[in-house]
Amino acid sequence: MTTTLTRPGALAASGHPLVRPPAARHLTDEQIAELGVELDAIRDDILAKRGATDAAYIRRVIKVQRGLEFAGRGALLFGRNRAAWIAGTTMLSFAKILENMEIGHNVLHGQWDWMRDPDIHSTTWEWDFVTPARSWQHTHNDLHHRWTNVVGKDRDVGYNLLRMDADQPWTPFNLGNPLYNAMLAPVFEWGIALYDLELPEYNEGLKSKADLKRDLKAMGIKAVKQFTKDYAATPAVAMLTGSGKQALYGTLVANAVRNVWAHAVIFCGHFPDGTDTFTEEMVEGETRGDWYVRQMIGSANISGSKLMHLMTGNLSHQVEHHCFPDLPSNRYAEVAVRVREICNRYGLPYTTGPLPKQVASTWAKVFKLALPDKGFFKKKKTTTP
């Protein structure tokens, strides 16, 4: 009857990109086309299965999240009591992580739009994160997911702040790479809000003043509300029990925990060893199969328990998420088994590892790329006449 295309016209029907990424150079055009068909089949399979159990899943997660949020914030109002403070801060941290990752990120991807529930829909959802949902959808869904790891196109490669790829030219500013990253982690949501304003794009003339003004206003309103909730309203109510200060510490800690966690998980998505970045030539003329290949070899998973997958918003299945950004997150685990098998069969890398290993790997990159590449000065000498 009808077919949905995510980006019609953006992908070539056949052929190959100008340059194929090194990790996939052993594959012929036909093999890549076949791989595309196999991945499309996985998607169709899940679409056919998707139904009441999936709907019940997201509603259950939302219910649990709201329960934790309510109980956590409620307990913080009595934060003078040490046990109440610990329970409140813990529950609120969990609630915020669930809200941002398994619920917010995935709802805003449209993973649950098929239910046609206006309360759980990518066009109506707003999240407990400073950046307004609409701004984030633009930089994340439109730009990052379309241009995944294409240096110069996907600004998520370092978020305009960090040098995360050797192909990004080194400047002395990058010496601060580890420092910036350490400072970014606890205030990650503010970093993302700033990033979503796209100031460099504005400076480069790629974003209009009107658009910037609109985004600034939306962010300002959102930021005031978010700030008021956690750092003014909650402590103010807690003052009734003499727990104002403790409640403030509680919300500060919960936000910091969520920020550090989100930062860690998100950095494990594309920066660990084994993930590839791409040049613009590798995207030019890309077919659906090549697009899938780029998503798979440009992303990295995190292995772990069911709880780990839940708390990462199933971004622990980053490879599968990038292949199928709008499939419901609760389905990624079963998709992963099949995607991994395909990667093995086609001789493509499938990067995964436990969280500590992947975090260590991203930090190693942060440190390494703080310094210029070997031969940086030599090269400079040879190019100077």
Partner: protein, 362 residues
């Protein structure tokens, strides 16, 4: 009551971007102010294939007028589906719909609805209502077309001794005929109601002829007529009234019905106008979605299948709840086959299909 919104606003500062209703809805789904819901209070089987579902609506609902319908949303395998159903309860009573199992949505409503279930609702609407001033009435109904008329009869007959209602209801057999016993009891009890059951299995199809109607209701010409039933039944009635008396008016001013006027309520629309045509790429601009659509699928279905939240109503081109502004392209009216489209024009998405590439502002 005035202080409640202020309290709610104060509470919102603590839970933004959520609202107090988001939390209250954890305990009672009817509390959601963003989505009107109702809780099923009672389900009564009417016939083998039909049931009446009573529900308690949340705030945002308004009392229905006899003969009106409401949109009801139910979830089938996790997906929300909306359909319109006539309210069968008398005006002033708790709302109830009477549903006959004829499709996926009505099947779930008739077979699998239990007290305590939640229905999604839109407030009652519709112009198929009683005249404002007392008049002698002739009701012609067939099959489940009795439903809105039942609401009228329940509203009028027991309360208004001066009412004068003749009902001719056509159905296949007594077993499948909705409200048969209640109608007979009402007719026994109240002299202002006369009921004729016409069972087509015994007597054949109810034909609209002057002689036939004279036999069923000799003074039919002096009555305001209401008809509700399947498409063929209504088409026949319309043709007959057009030939016999004044022009049929499908949308009269309430109370202004002329002698011999016919008011009809349709349950379905033939969408044959699109057969055999090509569709095109449909762009939902605000949703940033593009979908390839054929020339026979209503744009409403195209959008819903793509996961877009589409406004919708009767799904048969009557209620205009589904209007969306056209940005570019042409659409085909599936009822008539007419191709039309000016930028800015409001399109009835439930009865329009793509005729080439179409851009909608949604």
């Amino acid at each position: 009551m005035i202080r409640l919104p202020r309290l709610a606003r104060a509470a919102s500062a603590l839970i933004t971007p959520l609202t107090p209703e988001d939390f209250l809805a954890l305990f009672n789904p009817v509390f959601s102010a963003r989505q009107l819901r109702g809780v099923v209070t009672r389900v009564e089987r009417e016939t083998e294939n039909s049931a009446t579902i009573y529900f308690r609506p949340g705030s945002g609902w308004h009392a229905h007028r006899a003969g009106q319908w409401a949109r009801i949303g139910v979830e089938l395998d996790g997906v929300r589906h909306w359909r319109s159903y006539s309210l069968s309860a008398a005006a002033g009573q708790d709302p109830a719909i009477t549903v006959t199992d004829a499709g996926a949505v009505s099947n779930v409503l008739v077979r699998n609805t239990r007290p305590g279930d939640v229905l999604f609702l839109a407030p009652p609407q519709g112009d198929f209502v009683l005249p404002e001033h007392p008049r002698a009435l002739l009701m012609l109904t067939a099959g489940s077309g009795i439903t809105p008329v039942m609401s009228m009869i329940r509203t009028l007959v027991p309360r208004r001794p001066d009412a004068d209602v003749v009902l001719v209801h056509s159905d296949r057999t007594p077993e499948v005929s909705l409200f048969r016993e209640e109608l007979n009891e009402l007719a026994d009890q109240f002299p202002n109601l006369r009921v004729t059951h016409w069972f087509t299995e015994e007597r054949g199809r109810l034909e609209f002829t002057a002689a036939g109607l004279d036999g069923l209701c000799p003074d039919w010409r002096s009555r305001a007529a209401y008809a509700c039933g399947p498409e063929g039944f209504l088409d026949d009635a319309e043709v007959f009234w057009a030939a016999e008396s004044a022009l049929p008016r499908t949308d009269p001013e309430p109370g202004a019905a002329d002698p011999g006027s016919l008011t009809i309520e349709r349950f379905s629309t033939s969408l044959a106008g699109g057969a055999g045509h090509d569709g095109g790429l449909v762009t939902f601009e605000a949703s940033d979605r593009e979908v390839e659509a054929d020339g026979e699928t209503p744009l409403l279905d195209v959008g819903e299948d793509a996961g877009i939240l589409m406004p919708s109503g009767c799904r048969m081109g009557i209620c205009h709840s589904c209007l969306l502004p056209l940005r570019a392209g042409q659409v085909r009216d599936l009822r008539t086959g007419e191709v039309h489209g000016d930028p800015g024009q409001l399109i009835q998405t439930c009865v329009s299909a793509a005729a080439g590439p179409v851009n909608l502002d949604h």
